[in-house]
């Protein structure tokens, strides 16, 4: 009887992560809703661990991750996203909390949860630039530095992003934190140790989103083996890229939609597993909405 209940709880946990198991797998792993990731060698994202989610700057990795984030939010989990270089567009993520995640991977389980988690974003480079400019406007200039040296450099932004990630982990509010590092490929040893220490005291899963740089002409096998061997201390490594078959949707006057499949390689503890996700997209029509018409009754203030 007890065994049956445990199995049932495991199945329910698979459907509604973070709700049914306590102290066991449910506390340790976050299911993504994507079958190939949840049922393979990784079985989801490990809490208190760093998972690398990488690919070329355009490879479909963020689209897949958005699906996973929407899955978590609809199941009552809180997700933080540290957008280091402020590249996200708000409209793409506006309905993630409600479980709307755009092109659905065909192998993704669609669930309707009762509790809605939060999805919050920190746009690091933007916040830092605003802060610096406000300091300059107020005439507060640290240690007599010139205005030129107050410009935000990429190094500053990266350091700030690490600080923000550490604070988000330490707050123990978020179940998953996505750290979008852009093309900054490597962790400094000291920072890595700090993040690991912070993770050990929390229940958060840290997902490091990295953009790999374009490679010269390589065979596909060579690229895959490189990915499998590129562990740097992360628990699991997942690498994605666009692949065939590419679906083209014709419109009334030509091509309306390009939708490639996403190929992924998941590696953990020396083992690798291939996965593929096809996207279920449809043609956008932005003209369903309209801009706000200005209120002509009030004349515009003239300078």
């Amino acid at each position: 009887m007890n065994a049956n209940v445990a199995v049932l709880k495991q199945q329910l946990e698979h459907l509604f992560p973070g709700k049914w198991l306590s102290g066991g797998d449910g506390d340790k792993i976050l299911r993504t809703g994507i079958r190939d990731i949840d049922s393979g060698i990784t079985a989801g994202f490990a809490r208190r661990q760093i998972t690398e989610w990488s690919g070329l700057s355009s490879s479909g990795k963020s689209t897949l991750l958005r699906g996973a984030i929407a899955h978590w939010c609809t199941n009552g989990l809180n997700v933080g996203y540290v957008d280091t270089f402020s590249r996200l567009v708000a409209s793409d993520w506006a309905f993630v909390k409600e479980g709307h995640y755009g092109p659905v991977p065909l192998n993704m389980m669609q669930r309707k949860g009762n509790a809605a988690g939060e999805f919050l974003v920190v746009r690091v480079s933007e916040s830092l630039a605003q802060h610096r400019s406000s300091l300059l406007n107020k005439g507060v200039n640290r240690s007599g530095a010139s205005a030129q040296s107050e410009a935000v450099s990429r190094k500053d932004v990266k350091q700030e992003a690490f600080w923000v990630v550490e604070q988000l982990i330490r707050s123990t509010i978020f179940d998953a934190i996505v750290f979008d590092m852009g093309e900054s490929l490597y962790f400094n040893d000291r920072l890595f140790a700090r993040l690991k220490r912070a993770l050990e005291r929390s229940r958060t899963a840290l997902i490091v989103l990295k953009d790999r740089q374009l490679r010269e002409h390589y065979s596909t096998k060579k690229v895959d083996s490189d990915i499998a061997n590129s562990g740097w201390g992360c628990h699991t490594n997942m690498c994605f890229k666009w692949s065939a078959p590419i679906h083209y949707e014709s419109g009334m006057s030509g091509l309306a939609l390009i939708s490639p499949a996403i190929k992924g390689v998941v590696s953990r503890d020396g083992m690798t597993q291939n996965m593929e996700a096809k996207l279920n997209m449809h043609v956008q029509n932005r003209l369903f909405t309209h801009p706000q018409i200005p209120d002509r009754r009030t004349p515009k203030a003239r300078a």
């Binding site: 700057s57 355009s58 479909g60 990795k61 689209t63 009552g76 989990l77 809180n78 590249r87 996200l88 567009v89 708000a90 409209s91 793409d92 993520w93 506006a94 309905f95 993630v96 409600e98 479980g99 709307h100 995640y101 755009g102 659905v104 669609q110 939060e118 999805f119 919050l120 974003v121 920190v122 746009r123 690091v124 916040s127 830092l128 802060h131 300091l135 640290r142 123990t172 509010i173 374009l214 490679r215 002409h217 666009w242 590419i246 419109g251 091509l255 390009i258 490639p260 996207l279 279920n280 997209m281 449809h282 043609v283 956008q284 932005r286 909405t289 309209h290 801009p291 706000q292 515009k300």
Partner: protein, 461 residues
């Protein structure tokens, strides 16, 4: 007098911008002085005070009272003082504006005093004043001569107030001034301090004392100010605003530590003053009995109202000046870059698009509202050189790399915003391959018709 002329008279003259807090501080100071003249004193606006002038018959009368106050105020440095005495506060303020040092309205004559004066004195909107003038009502007496119901019907609430004031009815009364306690601590170190640990040690002991006082008074700190002195010379005054009022020493210490860490002091200090510059009454909220149950998981709502969340927001606020924790919201607009906005997670009123999410989900599925791939925009759109063959882009060069366009969609031509900054753009999605790689990229190509230039605005990821 112009500033240059004034400087010619007084070379040490300094220009200072209008600062509301300075006026309020001067006003509070003046109230504390005026208590010596009358037990009930209150300020109704900047530079205008109400004093209780009842029961003066045996103290030399109203004239002596007015003369004494003018003399007293002049001694404090305010030589341009005017006094009005009347039954109602409004009549007294109008009497004080009659360009005489003091003007006394006889008891019971407020209405007749006001009747000959202009309606401009009434605290009503400009639009209502214009309407009154339009109706031929220029004096308060003409207003009170109208039937009360007609005025109420025409001007509603504002008309009622104006009618009552013009009739000499004003419910404002001077009150007993509140005694303001200042919560501050001052420590003279006896020598220069430059280490953070030593500073925090001192601040901790100061906070212990201040929070104890606050708790006794049932107050919470809203804003703290740290003043750092070097040999009695104030070199830094740092206000620290709290995201939520608190009288918890640990929390306040953490906030001050963050402030010092984020913006280090210019030099070592020899004395420190810590001031609770703003306070608010402490709220006592009933905590759920189950909240202490360690076996129960916290709900998302609980976590986002918890102290740890507030501390996180406070940390980010202290570091970046404003709340960088943002929430994406949709906006009723069709160009991709303007279809959404980032809104602070707390402390902002929601202005998002209201969407019947359940209806859309049921009728068009999960992907209906967010139909595309995730776009990652560049900080600045990259201008590119495009080679076009038979009207179709074939290749482009960006930052020294040649990209071959394999497939490209028909453009989505969007224009608008003619009332702000006109936008006329053609948006393409292109599957491209860099010349030096086997990999494919999906990019957003944009042709800006306003500046006749091609751009890559971002990549689909």
């Amino acid at each position: 007098m112009r500033l240059s002329e004034a400087r010619a008279v007084c070379s040490e003259l300094r220009w200072r911008d209008y600062d509301d807090s300075l006026y309020i501080a001067a006003q509070k100071e003046m109230i504390s002085y005026l208590v010596e003249c009358s037990p009930r004193v209150s300020a109704i606006q900047v530079g205008m005070f109400l004093l209780d002038a009842e029961g003066l018959a045996l103290l030399g009368g109203e004239n002596l009272f007015a003369r004494n106050i003018i003399r007293f105020v002049s001694q404090k440095g305010y030589t341009e003082g005017y006094i009005g005495l009347a039954d109602s506060a409004f009549a007294a303020t109008v009497a004080a504006q009659q360009q005489r040092r003091w003007h006394i309205v006889a008891p019971g004559k407020d209405s007749s005093f006001l009747s000959s004066l202009s309606v401009d004195y009434l605290p009503i909107s400009l639009e209502s004043k214009d309407t009154l003038y339009g109706l031929g009502v220029e004096r308060m007496g003409q207003l009170t001569a109208l039937p009360y119901e007609e005025v109420t019907k025409r001007f509603e609430k504002e008309g009622v107030v104006a009618y009552e004031l013009a009739s000499g009815i004003d419910r404002r009364r001077p009150s007993l001034p509140k005694i303001e306690t200042s919560y501050q601590c001052y420590v003279d170190m006896g020598g220069p301090i430059e280490s953070l640990n030593d500073t925090l040690f001192v601040i901790k002991s100061m906070l212990e004392r201040l929070t104890c006082l606050l708790k006794q008074a049932g107050l919470c700190a809203e804003e703290l100010t740290m003043c750092f002195y070097s040999d009695d010379d104030l070199f830094e005054e740092r206000p620290v605003r709290l995201i939520r009022p608190s009288n918890q020493g640990k929390f306040l210490l953490e906030v001050l530590r963050l402030s010092i860490e984020n913006r280090q002091l210019e030099k070592e200090f020899t004395s420190l003053r810590l001031i609770i510059s703003k306070t608010s009454p402490e709220l006592f909220k009933q905590v759920s009995m189950l909240s202490g149950d360690g076996t129960k998981l916290e709900s998302p709502e609980t976590r986002f109202s918890s102290d740890s969340f507030l501390l996180l927001v406070q940390k980010l606020n202290t570091r970046y000046g404003e709340n960088p924790l943002l929430r994406p919201v949709a906006i009723d607009h069709y160009t991709p870059e303007r279809a959404g906005a980032w809104q602070p997670a707390i402390g902002s009123q929601s202005t998002s698009l209201s969407v019947a999410v359940d209806y859309v989900k049921a009728s068009a599925g999960n992907a209906a509202l967010v139909s595309g791939l995730v776009l990652k925009r560049y900080a600045q759109p990259r201008s590119i050189l495009v080679e076009v063959h038979k009207g179709q882009p074939e290749t482009f060069t960006s930052e020294g790399v040649l990209y071959k366009i394999h497939r490209i969609t028909t453009p989505e031509c969007l224009s608008g915003l003619w009332w702000e900054q006109p936008v006329r753009k053609s948006y393409y999605t292109a599957l491209v391959q860099p010349s030096s790689s086997n990999d494919y990229l999906l990019v957003m190509l944009v042709y800006d018709h306003e500046c006749k230039t091609w751009f890559v605005e971002g990549e689909y990821d």
